[in-house]
Each structure stands twice: as C-alpha cells, then as structure tokens.
Point group: C2
C-alpha cells in the first residue's frame, strides 16, 4: 500500500477553487497554507453559502467527550461517518480516541489512506468489491479492523472470500431487536450465525459483541437490551467462542452513550473485555435532535453534571439574504444542497451586515419555513431591520447530513478568520 499512498498524497492535501464555499484561490493550494490567505468570513472573503467549523467549540467538544468516556474507564471510537473528515479523525485520535468507527468499506479506505490504523466498521461488510477493498487493506499488518456479522448467510459469504485469499477477518456479532435494524433477534439466529462462524474459524475470527441501541426509544428497553448484550458476552466468553483477547463489547450512538457507558462499565468485566463507545455527532453537536438528546444526558447522568458545561454547536452554514420580496418573507441563498433538512430546518442564529463590527444574535422570531434545492424561505416580521446582502449564520440540526453537502469546510477562530480548511470524503 505504501506506493499507492505516496502517489495520492498530493491530492489528499490539495484544494482548488472548484470546491464551493471557499475564497479566491488563484491556483491549487495546500490545505496547510490556507491560513496565510487571511480570509475572514465577515469581510466577505468566502463565497457563500459556506459551512464553517468553530475551532474553539470543536476543541471543547473533543475534550468533553474524551473526558466523559475516560471517566467510565471505557474507550472511544467516534463514528467517523458523521464528518468523513480525516483531519477531524486525526484530532480525535490525538485527543485519545482508541480508533475510528465507520459505516462502509469506502469510508474505511478513506480513513486508511489518511493514516487511521484501527477501524471499527459498525456495519455488515457485504459485496465482492467491498470485501476486496478490505482484503487489500488487511495486507498491512499494522491495520486493525473489525466489522459486523448477523447471519449465517453473511458469514458464509465472508468466510468463502477470505479463506480463498488465506486471510483472516475479525468480526463482531451484532445483536438486534425485533422491529429494529440489523442484528440477530433470537436464539435461533444467534446459533446459526455461531455455527457458521465455527465452520469458517480459519478465515473469520469472532472478536466481540456489537449493538446499536439507537433503534430503541425508551430508556428502560435500552437498558434491557444493554443487559442482554452483557449476558451474551458473558455466555459466549464462557463457551470460548471468542478468538481474541480482550473481547470487544461495543455500542452507543450520540443520544444514549451515557447509559451505554454506565451499563457496560457496571458489568465489571475487567481486562477481559474492552468496552468501546461510538458517538459521532458530539464533535460539532447541533441545536436540534442532538441538543435535545444531550440535554437529557445532562439531566440524568452524574458525570455529565459534574463536568458542568455540555456540548456546543460548532458547525454553522452562512448565507446571504438575496431578496426581501414581501414584508414578512426573506429569501436566503441556501438550500437543501447546503444543509440537513430531515430533522428540523436550519435555525437563524447570527445576523451580520457587511461593514458592521460584529454579528448580532438573530431575533427569535426569524425562522425558515421552507427549503428548496438552492433557496430557503425565512419568516420575518414587517419592519425588521433586514436587508438584501445581509449575512445570516444558521445553526443546524443533524450534522451528518450537513457535512455531506460540503467537500471542504473552513475552520474559523473567534474573530471569524479562516485558520484552517478541512476536506470531506463522502
């Protein structure tokens, strides 16, 4: 893989003006040189709409979650599918993350090419070329990789592929719930999957247990599900089903990671089991679904309470007012192409008039009422001081589907200077 990495290294750090949301680039630039251009959002150096990350808030969230997870004595493998931004993966690893969680073979390849060497693919690996991608990465013995299995049919596909190549793939058995997503539902599915794993034990190594509790909505049923995962882990360990030590036990999206940390750490497995949690949205947070989820965590979790501060929204999309055609309606030059809209529309947070000293808080009655591909309708009140050419900074709900609208995002300091650029790989 070394040669391939070298041939691609220039592309990995290069940026050109064909990415939207940037300032003027006379030529292709290295990401690391961007700060030298002295772009400033408020001086209108960026072509809006533009998605931006706030450096200080990002660092606050990064450290907050690492501290929280560490307080439980468990490991953090942040879900990288949220941002698909390798530079943020590196920040997370440097802050103490155990590895990066991802959802697909392609995402794993992107992470590998950017230096990540431990990936938990919290998904079934399926399909010839996807298995081939992993086969090539596994040629590097420094690369540690786990993916999920939840059926004999899938284990047979993996077993046959990797046995033929003389390779061994580490997998986690996924437990699911009726009405949920993937994962074995019952003893029969569990047994047939275990039997398939036994058949392919040379090529497929059972290395732990995985759940995703986020398919459930009630705390009580989530706690039951977590206890079930603990019990299955104990039972399969007693049956010597696992082919690695320590055994992995992993769960947790961005809404219930506190409960998962509590239940899994209370199982007191000691060194025999490595507990790995996988929240992803904490890094940028939001003002929608994840603010709501985090508020519940702050209320119910003693460690979160002791930490005082919570998470901060670190991602905004800035856009211009392009028209105020009616007294109570402004049209914003931002649309479904620029921000998530599936879990609440973006919320006007800051209002800036070019030439002013700094942005003001947007009035609470401003709200988006509709988004089209490239436009949004914003409700205002008659006689609000809003003009064509004004800039609005929007908070967002659902970072995952906002990140995937952007190939690069500017990182801003407190003075709205662009201190860095990060590239995404969706």
């Amino acid at each position: 893989m070394a040669d391939k990495k070298i041939t691609q290294s220039a592309a990995l750090t290069a940026i050109d003006s064909l990415n939207k949301g940037l300032g003027f680039l006379e030529r292709t630039f290295e990401l690391g040189d961007i700060a030298q251009l002295n772009w400033n959002l408020l001086r209108e150096d960026l072509s809006l709409p533009s998605a931006v990350l706030y450096e200080e808030k990002l660092r606050h969230n990064l450290n907050w979650m690492q501290q929280f997870i560490t307080a439980y004595g468990v490991r953090l493998a942040p879900h990288g599918k949220t941002t698909m931004t390798p530079k943020l993966f590196q920040m997370q690893l440097q802050a103490g993350a155990w590895g990066i969680t991802l959802a697909t073979a392609h995402q794993t390849l992107v992470a590998y090419q950017h230096g990540v060497r431990r990936v938990l693919m919290a998904n079934q690996l399926i399909g010839k070329e996807n298995m081939a991608i992993l086969s090539r990465l596994l040629e590097d013995s420094s690369f540690e990789f786990y993916c999920l299995v939840d059926s004999a049919a899938q284990v047979d596909l993996l077993g046959s592929f990797y046995a033929e190549r003389g390779q061994r793939l580490s997998v986690l058995l996924e437990l699911g719930v009726a009405g949920g997503r993937t994962g074995v539902r019952n003893e029969e599915q569990l047994q047939s999957t275990l039997n398939a794993l036994s058949r392919w034990s040379g090529a497929i190594a059972l290395s732990g247990i995985e759940i995703y509790e986020g398919v459930l909505e009630e705390e009580a049923s989530i706690r039951d599900f977590l206890q079930h995962a603990v019990a299955v882990t104990r039972r399969l360990a007693a049956e010597n089903r696992f082919q690695c030590a320590p055994i992995l036990l992993t769960g947790a999206g961005s809404a219930w990671y506190d409960v998962v940390a509590e239940v899994f750490s209370a199982a007191k497995f000691g060194d025999a089991v490595e507990i790995v949690l996988r929240p992803g949205c904490y890094l940028t947070h939001d003002i929608g679904v994840y603010r709501e989820a985090q508020a519940k965590i702050q209320r119910r979790n003693p460690i979160a309470q002791r930490m005082g501060s919570g998470l901060l929204p670190a991602l905004q999309v800035w856009a211009y007012v392009q028209s105020v055609p009616e007294t109570e309606k402004a049209i914003i030059a931002m649309g479904k192409r620029d921000a998530a809209f599936d879990a609440g529309l973006p919320t006007p947070a800051l209002h800036f008039r070019p030439g002013d000293a700094s942005p003001k808080m947007a009035p609470a009655h401003w709200a988006l009422t509709k988004m089209m591909d490239q436009h949004a309708y914003m409700q205002i009140a008659a006689k609000d001081d809003l003009r064509v050419g004004d800039m609005i900074g929007f908070d967002i709900s659902h970072p995952c589907l906002t990140f995937d609208k952007w190939r690069s995002l500017a990182v801003l300091n407190a003075e709205y200077n662009v201190v860095d650029l990060v590239k995404t790989y969706f």
Copy 2:
C-alpha cells in the same frame, strides 16, 4: 484565465479510489480510460452502493427534450444544478442547447472551468466574493453571462461593485408572484428596480425578463403568470428599457416547460425576443415527482403526444441486501447518504443475484419504509426469494438530491458494463 485552466486541467479529468461507488483503481486514472478497466456492475466490480447512469436512456432523454424545445422554435438552456456534471453539460451543448442554466456563482465557475461559455444564472448574484468570481470570469470576452435582479437594493450592490471595476453585467429582471420565491411582486417593486437599473446603466445592462413558474401549482395561474411575463416584456421593450438585442425571455422548470413553450412561443415576438427554457431533470428523469409531471405533459401537450415516447428513468442507485433479520424485512446497505429521500423514497426496480445471468424486475410489493444515514428498511413478504448478498437496483425520485450524494457516477451500457465515468462538482 487561460493559465488557471491549464494548471487545473489534470485534476478535472483525474479520478481516484477515494470516490465512493467505484471499482478498484490501483492509481489515479484519467476518466477517459475507465472503459479499459472492463468493470461490470453484475460481476460486482463496483463497490456498492453505487449511483449509475444508463447511457442509452440518457441519450434518449437528451434528444427527446432538444427535439421538443426545437419544435416550438425556442432555445434550451438546461438547468445544470440538477447534475452539476460538466460532462453532461457538454453532451447537452453538443445536442443543441443554447447554454447552461445554473444557480450560483460557484456552479458558474465550475461550468466555465469545463469550457461552458454561455451561462444563465437563474438566481440573484449576491455577496462580494460571488460578484468577484463573476468579475474574474467576465474578463474573458467570449464568456456570456446573465443573472437575475428583483430589487433596487440588489441592483445597487451589483452596480456599485461592477462600476468600480469598469465592468458591465447583463441581468434579467425577475418577475414573481405573491406567496412565491424571488421576483418583483407588483408595480412599485418593478419601478424601483427599473429606477435602480437606470442609475447603474453603465455597469448593469437589462437584457430580458425571467420567471420561474414552478412556485405555482395550478395550470390556470401559471398561464396567467406567463401572460404577465409576456406583457411586461412587451411593455419594457416599448419603453426601450432593454440594453441588448435580442431581448431574453426565460422560464420553465421540469414540470411545466410545455406550457411555458406554448404560451411564450404563441406571443409571436419574432427575432426581437430569444425565448429560453430551462428544464433540468429531464436528462435522467425519475420515477417519482418528475414521472408524474411528465405524464401530465404527455396527456396535455400535442407535440409530446406526436413524439410518442416520453422520458426514461436513466439514474439508479444499486445496493446490497446486508441482512434479512425478520421474515418481512430486509436491510439494505444504502441510506440518506446515497439517494434523495425528500420526494418519495427510492423504489426497488431490479433484483440481481450475483452469478445469475441478468437482473429480474423487483416484485411490486417490495418497498422502502425507512431510510437512515447509511441503511434502508425494505418491506418484503415472508418466503420471498431474497438473500443476503443480493443486489437491488433502485429507481429514484428527485434526481437533484441524488446527484449531490455522489462525486462520480458510472455510465453503463445495456450489458451493465461501465463505459464511462462522470464527475460531479457540488
């Protein structure tokens, strides 16, 4: 601009394995060399999920629309925001399109860098860096560009910017409707915008009239709106308000282009007015909102009826069945990251089991019931012949928000061979 184009030309045609949905690339490839790799979808050479274009259907749609528009004696400037795929822009221009319609300064830059030299930006140009992007492109006298104005405030911003640079920007006056999006609503707004245009006549050249009828839903009100646009065009022409000849008159999204063609051509402007229509979704079409809109066009429009065939769905997303955890539920390895979900979920169209000779039609009772970021739930019936590892080809609704999930799309021939790759620039 020539130097900049040269420095970027390599990047424009290069492709590497960090784009999802591709096959194995040992090194960076030129797009034009992809066919040599002999990838075939049914041999599982692509890393699914993968968005694919069907070459024959694409060519059918391309020619259908060009013929339809030509039959009315008007011009086609397909909306390029749908695909943001410069290679498709070139196909459209070669088939006879007058120019390409776009929505933002960034999109215009992308088109320019790929050789497009006539752009109708069917949107207000707003913001310092966006105006600067156009200022740089306008240094090339072979580049013809129009954008919209709908307020005195906006004209003043443009006028001041371009007057300072000694440049002249061609604009179209946008007419709007109460409750709609952008565009002047009434005589007062029209007059104040015209007055601003008079103030800046050295820097801003009024070149025509623009409407977007798609904000209305009823044919009768659309016809009224179109007649209004015709009347304003006549009136401003009589007042010698336009600073170019011929005057442009433009409208039409993908749902009402037949009515726009009919009403505008019936105005019998002759050579004095160039009528330009802007549908964008016709090129790939879909099986959702645009199939429904097109069915109405086939029913009401005599030219569409005479042409016999209509438009064909030319874009699919293929994905694997990763789990069948319940007798009536399959989990598909495709999610909101891979296909539009805002105008109906993707529809299972083809079912293929690796090793079989060819795909079958998917049973009509298969349907997606939910999409998450990276997964979809598919309703099946107990005892359906569906297995983990099977491939499903999904038709989609809303091509715009499917294209923007992909950085490259494979172009397939009738044997599912990858005969080309196209890159998108969102």
